[in-house]
């Protein structure tokens, strides 16, 4: 049984077709990579899946439930969350409280269990030392890990990661990949959107490629890097 099935998703912004007939599915506990040039519809796809945008066609099935058109908070409570490309911590709250809210609302935990859970997750992502600092005061690399911890606190079955490694140094990327593998080993499926090809190719078991809102290729990472259409989309005609 597939965990998440996106079937023929369409999304228009006025005359612009941001997503056109995009379909994919992901099995429990797997890692799916989504690559594509800027403006190819990756972030829009995530926003449709999590109910931030209403789609103009197609359906999303999560664990055999129709989630098309459900509000974001309900989709989150069912176990489908995303982290944002632009990190948005609640800056006036402490790092711990940010994660704590995820446990309170996403999983419906009580105050004390949510607090314990938050501290454990901060330990996992390596932020326990800054737990009581205001989240506005930590570095970008830390904020990216905070986004991840906050998503984990909601008790997800699948996390959609929107460029969670953007702006990180190579060393930080390695650490981030290590962390994602650790999270995946807990049985949480991941959908990874990333510009950094090595990162996506290294971690994903299956990859889909978007260009101008259309799926132009899919397959294993080895298959994708040799695909003519993908090379054309990323590098231009002369490289084919």
């Amino acid at each position: 049984m597939s965990l998440l099935i996106a079937d023929s998703i369409h999304k228009n912004f006025g005359a612009l077709e941001a997503l056109s007939d995009v379909s994919f599915e992901i099995q429990p506990g797997k890692i799916l990579g989504i690559v594509g040039p800027n403006g190819s519809g990756k972030t829009t796809l995530f926003n449709v899946l999590t109910g931030v945008y209403k789609s103009d066609g197609g359906s999303v099935l999560f664990e055999d439930h129709q989630i098309t058109g459900l509000p974001t908070h309900k989709i989150c409570r069912m176990g489908l969350v995303k982290t944002s490309q632009i990190v948005k911590p609640f800056t006036r709250l402490s790092v711990m409280e940010n994660v704590f809210i995820g446990g309170l609302y996403g999983r419906g935990l009580g105050l004390n269990p949510a607090r314990r859970e938050a501290m454990e997750l901060l330990n996992l992502v390596g932020l326990s030392e800054v737990a009581h600092q205001p989240s506005g005061s930590i570095t970008v690399a830390m904020r990216r890990r905070l986004e991840l911890a906050r998503a984990l606190a909601t008790g997800p079955k699948i996390i959609l990661l929107d460029e969670n490694m953007a702006g990180l140094t190579p060393v930080e990327i390695d650490a981030a990949l290590e962390l994602l593998r650790k999270i995946n080993e807990e049985g949480i499926a991941l959908v990874v959107v990333e510009h950094i090809m090595q990162a996506v190719m290294g971690i994903s078991q299956y990859v889909i490629v978007l260009d101008y809102g259309k799926k132009i290729a899919e397959g294993t990472p080895e298959h994708i890097v040799n695909d003519q259409q993908v090379i054309k989309a990323f590098l231009g005609d002369e490289y084919v």
Binding site: T72, K88, F90, L93, I101, Y105, G106, A151
Partner: protein, 315 residues
């Protein structure tokens, strides 16, 4: 640190409440009256702060609920002769019901739209009260003959102000308060971690409307006579906004400090400079907003934080 502070605050709060509760047994007259009015405004500003200070939604129509509260209880009392507690409770429930009906669609609107929608509603209901003379007596005004004693209003208002402040404190430290703060910072991000943002806002709005309705009902009863333009007055809303801003939005104590100081200033200046006091209050407000954007509570906590930081470094 977070766990220790509320305990101390609670004890101080209880001591202050007990002192205030027994005070009218020793002094009477002017101070009791002034404090009664201050408690009333702490209650109103406290409600506004709980909804708008914590979520960042600006309500410019809070006078809807003082007006509805006044008329519902006034009409029940005068025309049907119900006992005052029943009338007051009915006033609160009527305000709550209207808040749910109004809040359901408008709380999906962000920023200025919500402010405009609520403001328009207050004006519309004022017109209804003007025209519906068979019930409200319209512009002639409604006279309420049954009244409690001054000292009873003092205690009831003290209790209500304490209840609103206590409730704010409780919410601040529980799940609901974190939901409110998350909404204030980033509504989309809040929804993404599972906060039902619309419901959290609606519950808070209805709860505060309930208390505003009760306070409005009692105040109309205390004054004994009111017209639509008195109880649906935009100045009531503005005063709630200013008191919250003055104290600093979104903290437990800001309405207490804002309402106390502004009401005292208004009282003193109103007696001394009857023609200019609004100008002076205006200048004070502009100065506070320009130089203390987080209000008095924000400025004070900054000073305390600065003086205690070196100590933390040593430990």
């Amino acid at each position: 640190m977070n766990d220790r502070r509320p305990g101390r605050g609670l004890i101080i709060g209880l001591i202050v409440a007990v002192v205030l509760a027994i005070m009218p047994l020793f002094t009477m007259g002017y101070y009791v009256n002034l404090l009664t009015v201050i408690f009333y405004w702490i209650g109103l500003a406290g409600c506004w702060n709980l909804m708008c200070g914590y979520t960042g939604y600006i309500d410019f129509g809070s006078a809807v609920y003082t007006g509805v509260g006044s008329y519902v209880s006034g009409i029940l009392l005068v025309r049907l002769g119900f006992p005052l507690p029943v009338c007051t409770l009915a006033a609160g429930l009527a305000a709550l019901l209207i808040a749910v009906i109004v809040g359901w669609p408008t709380l999906r609107l962000r920023g200025a739209y919500f402010a405009i929608a609520t403001f328009a509603l207050a004006e519309a209901l004022k017109q209804v009260a003007e025209e519906w003379t068979s019930m409200t007596e319209g512009g002639i005004g409604l006279t309420v003959t049954y009244r409690l004693s001054d000292i009873d209003y003092y205690w009831v208002y003290l209790g209500l102000a304490g209840l609103v402040v206590g409730l704010t404190w409780w919410i601040e430290h529980h799940k609901h308060g974190y939901g409110l703060k998350a909404i204030n910072e980033d509504e989309e991000a809040a929804a993404q971690v599972g906060v039902n943002t619309h419901m959290v806002k609606l519950k808070t709005y209805a709860l505060t409307a309930f208390f505003i309705g009760i306070l409005g009902s009692l105040e109309a009863n205390r004054l004994g006579y009111f017209k639509p333009e008195d109880v649906f007055d935009i100045h009531i809303t503005i005063k709630m906004v200013i008191m919250s801003l003055f104290g600093g939005m979104g903290t437990v104590l800001s309405p207490v400090i804002g309402a106390s100081i502004l009401q005292i200033i208004e009282d003193v200046l109103g007696a001394e400079f009857i023609n200019y006091y609004l100008v002076i209050i205006g200048v004070i407000i502009v100065v506070v907003i320009m130089f203390l954007p987080r209000g008095l509570v924000g400025a004070l906590s900054k000073i305390f934080a600065r003086s205690s930081r070196p100590k933390q470094g040593v430990i």
